[in-house]
């Protein structure tokens, strides 16, 4: 990579990759994996998502990580991003809540309002 044009190419490709690709990824789960999140159990949350998704053979769900949003009092924090819908942020997550979110939100398409701490970007 030697020029700004090269950088632009990488950027365009990365932006495309970050988008949810219709058939491929229907929903993206983003777990906050900063120290605060991990201290409050984000690893367990991430693990449970992966297990539940594998157990249900959901192939159109992507699980990824991010840093801290700043919502320490609501850690572990998880974003659910779906194409064309408002982003939903769940807070104070634990493995049991993850199971419910997988069933309700990811499988049945209903937001689990009890756990929602913010919506939108």
């Amino acid at each position: 990579m030697k020029t700004l044009a090269d950088l632009k190419k990488i950027r365009e490709k990365a932006q495309e990759d970050m988008k949810l690709r219709g058939g491929n990824v229907r929903i993206k789960i983003v777990v906050g994996m900063g120290t605060s999140g991990i201290a409050m159990g984000a690893r367990e949350v991430m693990k449970t998502f992966l297990e539940e998704i594998a157990a249900r053979n959901l192939t159109d769900v992507l699980v990824t990580q991010t840093g801290e949003k700043g919502l320490s009092s609501m850690e572990p924090v998880v974003d659910l991003i779906e194409d064309g819908k408002t982003k939903v942020t769940y807070g104070n997550m634990n493995p049991d809540k993850v199971k419910k979110v997988v069933v309700e939100h990811i499988v049945n398409g209903r937001v689990v309002s009890d756990y929602v701490v913010a919506t939108g970007n």
Binding site: M1, T3, L4, G70
Partner: protein
């Protein structure tokens, strides 16, 4: 489980409940029944949503529509218009400057935040260079390397008005200019990630959440001043931050964003990570430099400043993590954009870490010049529970306490300093009315005594002296003149200490004396801690009227100082009581009270011992 088409989230935080949220919830149940909608609408009580000023508030999904100040009378309209006809009730939405906000994210609670440094934190995958590039990452670096001269870069930062975010607020461009003008063969740039201030964690979050942004900021600075080597000095308490920044360096090297001839511009740069090993003083720039050199992290007198003689004697710039976090965005969006935020002398935004007894603990980024009230009550969501706000400690152990009278103070470098506090690294420790300010000051002093490196005597000995006086006061042995002595010591230490740690360490004590002098006085004169925190200045008492004589307290007392019977009820023998609080915790009928003030028996006992000692000395 039936499928419901609407989720109605009613805030049942204490603010909204006190404004009638529960009655509204009942009314919804009634009206929904009338409309036969109970199977379609899911009513959910939530915890506090934050914007308590607008209570009772509610959010309706799937649209995410936010209603404020809802009354029982509005319920019928919401159901018939919104739920039945699908027409949201505009008059209940937040009105501001003719604009109707719909979604919850648009409420001031979220809206008052402006994210510059934290832009990507919590949004991108910090371990993916591609995601950083997708947000416009490394564009600023590419632009300056191919289109700008080092001096142009410094000029942009100068025009932006950016000041160091680590504590002192020194204008960033001056440091860069000094090193730029120095014609040395080797120059260094250091990122100060030794975030030691208790209550501050923005640097950790940035390094963990958006490491490439910090790296890009450092490289821009390196180009501007002509450095080809950089060091990230990160405290060993932050293993994840260390891992992520190391990963970022590897990724940048692999893609050719670091190394030789970056962007074909002839600019070469390499960076390494160094860690601390547990020493608060290493956040001081000279101490930090010595630590990187593999020595004890002692500060040394300035001048010479690091910009003249820094790491291995070469000109060096030490910038804080958050400072670097602003650089790339300033280059991309322009100095004027950045300078349009904030106050006359404090430009841009600042990240604050809200901690303590505030509801929304965490990191927030707001424009400089916001008031403390907005920061704590709007963004921070106010106090936890029904407690009142008492004080806020700004700037960690170097800062000062401000009170309810200062809530309308603008948060910027100058205004805070004028009132005896400081911006520091942005730690905001909020305290409720249960806190004893003498005890808090003592706690901060313990921290500073512990962390003093011991090199200069005002700090090493003076702080210890101050701590002893504070301990004396909280133990009920304070004397007349102790307050003045604390002030005198504090001022001398401030003037005579070698580095910033010592110079600012007396601040918590001085500022609490300034604003809570009466608490010190009652500790000294009345031997009383009004908040029942200082154990020697409070006592436990069993109220015989309420006591049922169950003997549980006596059985749980570790010093067997409680005696009595079912008939006579129970009594605490004050002399032997160690104030462990077991009795208070176990009493089934809450018949035990905490009472401010030293018990007369203890006072008499102490006087007797003192007299005997006097006699012995004679």
């Amino acid at each position: 489980m039936s499928l419901k088409r609407i989720d109605l989230l009613i805030c049942c935080g204490s603010g909204c409940v006190s404004a009638g949220a529960l009655k509204i919830k009942e009314r919804f149940h009634e009206v929904l029944k009338e409309h036969n909608l109970t199977t379609e609408v899911n009513i959910i009580e939530t915890g506090c949503m934050g914007p308590c000023d607008y209570g009772p508030v509610m959010v309706i999904y799937p649209e995410g529509i936010f209603y404020k100040k809802v009354s029982v009378d509005d319920v019928a309209e919401i159901v018939s218009e919104h739920f039945v006809k699908g027409r949201p009730v505009n008059r209940l939405m937040l009105q501001e400057e003719e604009k109707t906000f719909q979604a919850q994210k648009d409420v001031p609670f979220y809206q008052k935040q402006v994210k510059v440094a934290l832009e990507n934190c919590g949004y991108i995958n910090p371990e993916s260079l591609d995601e950083y590039i997708a947000t416009g990452g490394y564009e600023a670096l590419g632009t300056i390397l191919t289109e700008m001269k080092p001096q142009d870069v410094i000029n942009v930062i100068k025009e932006s008005g950016l000041r160091g975010r680590g504590g002192g607020g020194f204008p960033t461009h001056i440091k860069w200019q000094m090193v730029h003008d120095n014609k040395a063969d080797q120059k260094y740039i250091i990122c100060n990630g030794d975030e030691g201030d208790p209550g501050a964690f923005m640097d950790r979050s940035l390094l963990e959440g958006d490491p490439h942004r910090i790296l890009e900021g450092m490289m821009i600075a390196a180009y501007a001043m002509g450095a080809s080597n950089g060091f990230f000095y990160i405290r060993a308490e932050y293993p994840l931050a260390i891992k992520r920044i190391k990963m970022a360096i590897e990724q940048a090297k692999e893609l050719g964003l670091m190394g030789n001839n970056v962007f074909g511009s002839g600019f070469n740069f390499d960076a390494e990570v160094r860690t601390g090993a547990g020493a608060f003083v290493c956040g001081e720039e000279m101490a930090l430099i010595h630590s990187i050199e593999g020595m004890r992290g002692n500060p040394t007198p300035k001048p010479p400043y690091p910009a003249v003689q820094g790491l291995w004697g070469k000109p060096t710039v030490v910038n804080n993590v958050e400072t670097f976090g602003n650089i790339a965005t300033i280059i991309r969006k322009g100095a004027a954009w950045f300078a349009s935020m904030g106050t006359e002398k404090s430009k841009g935004t600042k990240v604050f870490a809200l901690t303590g007894d505030v509801r929304n603990t965490g990191l927030v980024e707001v424009p400089m010049g916001i008031t403390l009230r907005e920061l704590i009550f709007d963004v921070g969501g106010g106090m936890i529970g029904d407690h009142k706000f008492k004080a806020v400690q700004l700037g960690g152990p170097s800062g000062g306490c401000l009170t309810v009278d200062h809530l309308d103070t603008s948060v910027d470098y100058e205004s805070l300093k004028e009132r005896g506090a400081m911006m520091g690294s942005g730690g905001v420790i909020v305290m409720n009315d249960e806190k004893c300010m003498v005890n808090v000051a003592k706690f901060f002093m313990e921290f500073c005594v512990e962390e003093s490196c011991g090199k200069c005597s005002p700090c090493r000995i003076g702080l210890k002296q101050m701590l002893e006086i504070l301990e004396r006061i909280t133990d009920g042995k304070g004397r007349e003149g102790d307050i003045e002595e604390l002030q005198r010591l504090g001022e001398s230490i401030n003037k005579l200490s070698l580095c910033g740690l010592g110079q600012t360490a007396p601040n918590p004590v001085l500022s609490t004396i300034r604003y809570f002098r009466e608490e010190y006085e009652s500790h000294i004169r009345d031997h009383s801690c009004a908040n029942k925190v200082c154990l020697d200045l409070m006592h436990f008492n069993i109220d015989k009227e309420r006591c049922i004589g169950c003997s549980l307290c006596a059985r749980k007392c570790p010093t067997t100082c409680i005696s009595g019977s079912r008939e006579e009820k129970y009594t605490i023998h004050q002399i032997d009581c160690v104030k462990c609080g077991n009795c208070f915790d176990v009493c089934p009928v809450k018949a035990i009270d905490k009472i401010p003030g030293m018990h007369p028996e203890i006072a008499a006992n102490r006087a007797q011992i003192a007299k005997a000692a006097q006699h012995y000395d004679d």
